[in-house]
Symmetry: C2
Subunit: 444 residues, 2 copies
């Protein structure tokens, strides 16, 4: 019978559909996301960061404590049955600030290192590729001011990217104090935010447009050139081995303590991460939030599609909840963007099972065989009812299952779905070896 | 400075707190939950079930399509900015029904095996141990009617329990048609639901109370005795090796096809699962939902604290969304209850890291050493700023980190936090061996 999606008889049927901007995850997509998340978690754990969780619903006043009108328009907020104004979290940063302020010096001590991977909700106008429910993946250390803490965030994130098989990336680093100082020195302190915003767009809109827009802010021609010269500075981060490499490039001077901090961070990076670092003063991060070193991460050749991970050092995370000043450093990974990169590369495609066991005569396959496969860590799906060959192939293809094991009185036949080759296997150990040898590495 | 939780000066501070009935997961608690979930997922995957995900928000009419007024009172529902009535899911069953109806014969084929672990929300009156946000963990196969599918649900769930180290459990199985038939045969078809509800309480309220309540329904004394005799039947499931073992116990007759189904299911269970099965006709499952075999799982000796996993076979999952009749079998695991059992047993306690590296002279510990530890899968936290011994101990204890590795010019000293013993270690390989030998097995 076909799906009925309207009520055509006396029985009422509701149309089965998700809300606009929301989506189901079908099995293969969910497996890919879970594998990605598991590898990131494992890396973060090795670096000594621990997971936390916070409620998806919080008091509206808590979630809106840091934000302007833009957030208010996007947040899913409502009044609960008890008359409280509550809302769904729209990021993991505000809940983290609340979490730290609530638990510090009680259940947790500083420094505190955590990661948090979870869903957030924003009622944005839906556009292609923009969802109203999506994952965020944040990693932070609060209560430490050292350059080592900064370096560890980059080490952990870059190592996570390598662990999931992404190696063609560059982490572009800079320091917020550099542009801030330049702005003050040239006498534009009150226009600092506007200048930052314009320079931040330079990679997208180009130098000429930036030139024009800065002139429009009544910045003098000379100073515009200085700003553009500054924001154009981009070099392999190995220049950070010697601070004079950079200071000599800026004859009018540059904030040396900020450069020194970047040199310190660079020296503390893992050797295998250093080649992935670029010193890039166009990185300013739009958000007011950051006060120290900042970074954005791009896939080489796809810089225009945007950053896959970004972050930096900030002061006073918990200012809305406590007078104690708690600063920190953190970053986040764009899971959805990473997933599409990985899925495009094909490396991560993994079916719902490793083998599909089908009995040729329609009987239930021997349970000892099934248990032996599973005992050998082979994900084993079984056809319990009689299945024709064509239907079995379709099932395996739809679920990206690489093998069908046909069981009959005359023996076992292993069918490779990709090649359509079928071969008789003589023993269970032979079968296990053959299946395992062709599996995507599914260790985490 | 101390935490300020009220606004005492001109700076406004918001009290950092979660909503009543909600809770944060601190690192060690979250690690325990993630380990539990990872082991369950791994077991389900080996059994050929695949994960899916659905949105946390759905159309209110979809979530309420199956339910009566009780759900309506508990659901978090509201109107979004687009004027749609939407709600947070209160279970994973209704979204699964919507998912199957929406995708069947398009992105998915029958039979369809899935598991789904996710948060759900209910605005219940908060009581001790009842939360408004909690996890559900469901496993189902739809589109197959075989006894093998029923047996696989038990195999998968019981194997997951064994995988997480819980082995003192019994799965009590029965069949809904047994009581249904008895009720009809004795002439109480119209009172079936009430009789079921009363017998379902027998383990809690006792036979005498059931006797009284059934008499109150105008059931005759003789028939009350028959109902109680029936619901008192409880035997090791090995009696299912021969159907006559059961039929002979009921001289007035019993639904033989239902018993035969239970015999078939039993014969299809893994040999290591069979000893965990009890045939128990008092298991009726309160919900109307179930139509075939049903089960509930209890920790031996803690039967009164309730079931840790339950489920059964049902007809027509998708009735509110499509005319196609799709039946299936499924079960769910009570994650919170399991977590408290495991946490009480102490077996699962795991800190935020395996070792905490502290430099005795306040310098940053050698990065090669740190990378060597992490490369050997040791979760390594590092003190980047100078830390006094007492503070280091407190940090390790708070975070359940079993070892501190003190690094100084004279060598490496490994401190076991539990025993307070400190020993000099001569080489990195020695250090790795010592740390690994004492770790909780953290493989998943």
């Amino acid at each position: 019978m076909e799906l009925t999606t309207t009520s055509s008889t006396s029985t009422t049927t509701t149309i089965p559909r998700v809300l606009k901007g929301f989506r189901d995850a079908l099995p293969c997509a969910e497996i890919a996301r879970e594998r990605l998340i598991a590898k990131i978690k494992k890396t973060f754990s090795l670096y000594g960061y621990a997971p936390i969780d916070t409620p998806c619903l919080e008091y509206e006043e808590i979630l809106l404590s840091k934000s302007g009108g833009e957030t208010e328009k996007q947040i899913y907020a409502f009044t609960d049955n008890g008359g409280r104004r509550i809302a769904l979290r729209f990021d993991l940063t505000v809940p983290f600030a609340r979490f730290v302020a609530e638990h510090v010096h009680k259940e947790i001590e500083l420094p505190f290192k955590r990661y948090h991977i979870g869903k957030v909700w924003r009622g944005e106008k839906s556009q292609a590729g923009r969802y109203r429910e999506f994952y965020q993946c944040d990693i932070d250390e609060v209560g430490s001011t050292s350059a080592s803490s900064d370096a560890e965030i980059i080490n952990a994130i870059a190592s996570a990217l390598l662990a999931i098989g992404v190696d063609n990336f560059k982490v572009h680093i800079s320091h917020r104090a550099l542009l801030q100082d330049l702005t003050s020195k040239l006498g534009y302190k009150d226009k600092g935010a506007d200048i930052l915003r314009i320079l931040d767009k330079m990679p997208k809109i180009g130098k000429e447009a930036v030139h024009e827009q800065l002139l429009g802010l009544s910045v003098s021609e000379d100073d515009v050139n200085d700003f553009i010269l500054f924001a154009s500075f981009k070099q392999d981060a190995s220049v950070l081995k010697d601070i004079s490499n950079i200071t000599s490039s800026f004859k009018k001077g540059i904030n040396e303590s900020a450069i020194q901090r970047l040199c310190d961070i660079y020296s503390l990076l893992n050797e295998n991460i250093k080649p992935h670092i670029v010193l890039d003063f166009s990185i300013t991060r739009g958000l007011d939030y950051y006060t120290g070193f900042v970074f954005e991460t791009f896939i080489t050749g796809s810089e225009n599609t945007g950053s896959i991970s970004s972050g930096g050092r900030y002061d006073d995370l918990t200012s809305h909840f406590t007078k104690e000043k708690i600063s920190g450093v953190g970053g986040s990974i764009g899971l959805d963007r990473l997933l599409s990169i990985i899925s495009a590369s094909g490396q991560q495609n993994m079916g719902t099972a490793d083998v599909y066991v089908v009995s040729k005569d329609g009987s239930v396959p021997d349970s000892k065989l099934i248990q032996c496969l599973r005992g050998n860590e082979i994900r084993t799906d079984v056809a319990f009812e009689s299945v024709k060959n064509n239907k079995a192939y379709r099932y395996a293809e739809l679920n990206l299952i690489p093998f069908i094991l046909f069981v009959s009185e005359s023996g076992y036949y292993l069918k490779n779905i990709a090649t359509r080759e079928e071969e008789k296997v003589e023993s269970q150990s032979d079968m296990i070896k053959k299946i395992k040898s062709q599996l995507v590495n599914n260790e985490v």
